[in-house]
């Protein structure tokens, strides 16, 4: 009995664990070298595929809770960190070049949700050699960012904008993203990347989409004829029963007459 109880508890724990998941992705902001991949060690080990400079992986489910992160070049760990992941939340792990050494560094950003009908955008500075940057959207200042910092999500109207990073107290543009399309129902992050001689630039990655999760029921069966066929089935069955009964009683009547 106690064994059964133990099994039940273990099963319920594993089921609970299966649902307690967060989602993470890896953004590679380390220029040069082979694309690294990320290993997440928590209740279960998760490996995120290697990705090129400026690119991000798809979001991958990982157990919620405390986790150890290791950035691997081949099988060799080149950066380590630890972080906590909350159930149901999304995170971007950004691999950046350490400003003072060749070794990369991992930074973890919690990604925000999307809102139906609205466009949301935030900017993350992942360029260690850019000491400070004024971020503007169509010339309007979003904020001033140092390496590793992130601005809160802004909610401009959906549309097309020009995103730019300008040196503080100067008009020198560090990077620009003209034709930035902010789409209703999405949340996105623009990462300022570039170091070790790589051109400083923005890369945009979608964080979330406000979307229905169930397909619409846009059919009532008129083409398939389902409703009418039910009627046919019932009528056929009734006719079959009546006819069968008639034939059987007639056969019995004939038999009785013959018996007399």
């Amino acid at each position: 009995m106690s064994l059964l109880g133990g099994v039940v508890i273990l099963l319920s724990l594993s089921v609970g664990d299966a649902f307690a998941a967060a989602e993470i992705r890896l953004l590679n902001a380390v220029p040069g070298g082979p694309p690294p991949h990320l290993q997440v060690s928590a209740a279960r080990q998760v490996k995120l595929e290697a990705t090129d400079f400026g690119e991000a992986t798809e979001y991958t489910a990982t157990p919620a809770g405390r986790a150890r992160l290791a950035l691997l070049a081949g099988e060799k760990p080149i950066a380590k960190a630890s972080s906590s992941f909350e159930e149901g939340a999304r995170y971007t792990v950004v691999a950046v070049r350490n400003r003072n050494s060749e070794a990369p560094q991992l930074r973890v950003y919690r990604d925000g949700p999307a809102a139906a009908g609205k466009a949301r955008l935030r900017v993350v500075s992942a360029a260690p050699e850019v000491n400070g940057a004024e971020i503007t959207l169509d010339g309007r200042q979003l904020g001033s960012l140092s390496p590793g910092e992130v601005a809160d999500y802004a909610a401009p109207d959906p549309g097309t904008y020009r995103l730019a990073a300008v040196k503080p107290d100067s008009e020198d543009e560090l990077a620009a993203l003209p034709g930035l399309s902010l789409v209703a129902g999405t949340a996105a992050s623009a990462y300022l990347i570039g170091s070790a001689g790589e051109r400083t630039r923005f890369v945009l990655h979608e964080d979330a989409v406000a979307a229905p999760t169930v397909g619409p029921a846009t059919g009532l069966g008129g083409v398939a004829g389902g409703g009418m066929n039910w009627l046919l089935a019932i009528l056929s069955a009734a006719a079959a029963g009546t006819l069968g009964g008639l034939l059987y009683s007639r056969a019995r009547t004939s038999g009785d007459r013959a018996g007399r």
Binding site: A89, D111, G112, D157, S181, A211, G221, V223, A224, A251
Partner: protein, 262 residues
Amino acid sequence: MLAAERARLRARGRSGPGGLAGHARLGLIAAVVLPAALAGGAVLAFTAGSQAAPEASVGGSPAQLAALADLGRRPSPTWDGSHTFDARAPTVPLRPLLAEPGRAGLEPSPLEPLAGGIRPAPPQRIAIPAADLDTSIEPVGVRGGAIEVPDLGSAGWYEGGPRPGERGRAVVIGHLDARRGPGLFARVPRLPPGTLITVTDRRGEVHRFNVIGGAQVRKNRFPARYLFGGSDAPVLILVTCGGPYRQRGGYRDNILLYARGA
């Protein structure tokens, strides 16, 4: 003589070989076979009720769906069909988001909405000349996790996403059929690539799209990530029902028809 012959024949019919026994056997066989045949007919009629609706002109393989949804924007996400893609709705409250190492203490800076260029107005009508379709569009939201279904006489535009004519994937849904007979989108699953679709917005501006392909997906594994979100060009996705029909539960599938801004 005649009466005697009749009596003889009657007696033969009752007691001769194949007389009473043959008659009763025939009756019993008829009593079993005919109802069985009719019951079979009933089953066939019921089965016919579960027949498949017209399917998309282009198959709905995961690779095709990914390619359609991708539209050249980013590397195609992979879909092996083994899991759903329904994005878990983030429930965390929004708050200042900072990198874990070296928190910088940056304060959020709320931004007033900007114009962002001239957006198309919300859609008003959709026309597909090849399908003899010209109908109004009503905005629809989400209820119970699913897109609200429009009235039978109009199409529904998912107002939580982009508007037709602007960058992003605009989704318009319509009925495949009513209880009796076809619905507005009855011919949508069979529209071939290249078919022209026009959407007229509330300012009277006409946005043109060309069909590039279609896909058929299970409703219970609705691939939301391939329908909603950004794209580099204006994209219109028409959604209706498809696949086998069951009296309980309706159509099993959804048909997705992708069209790109012309």
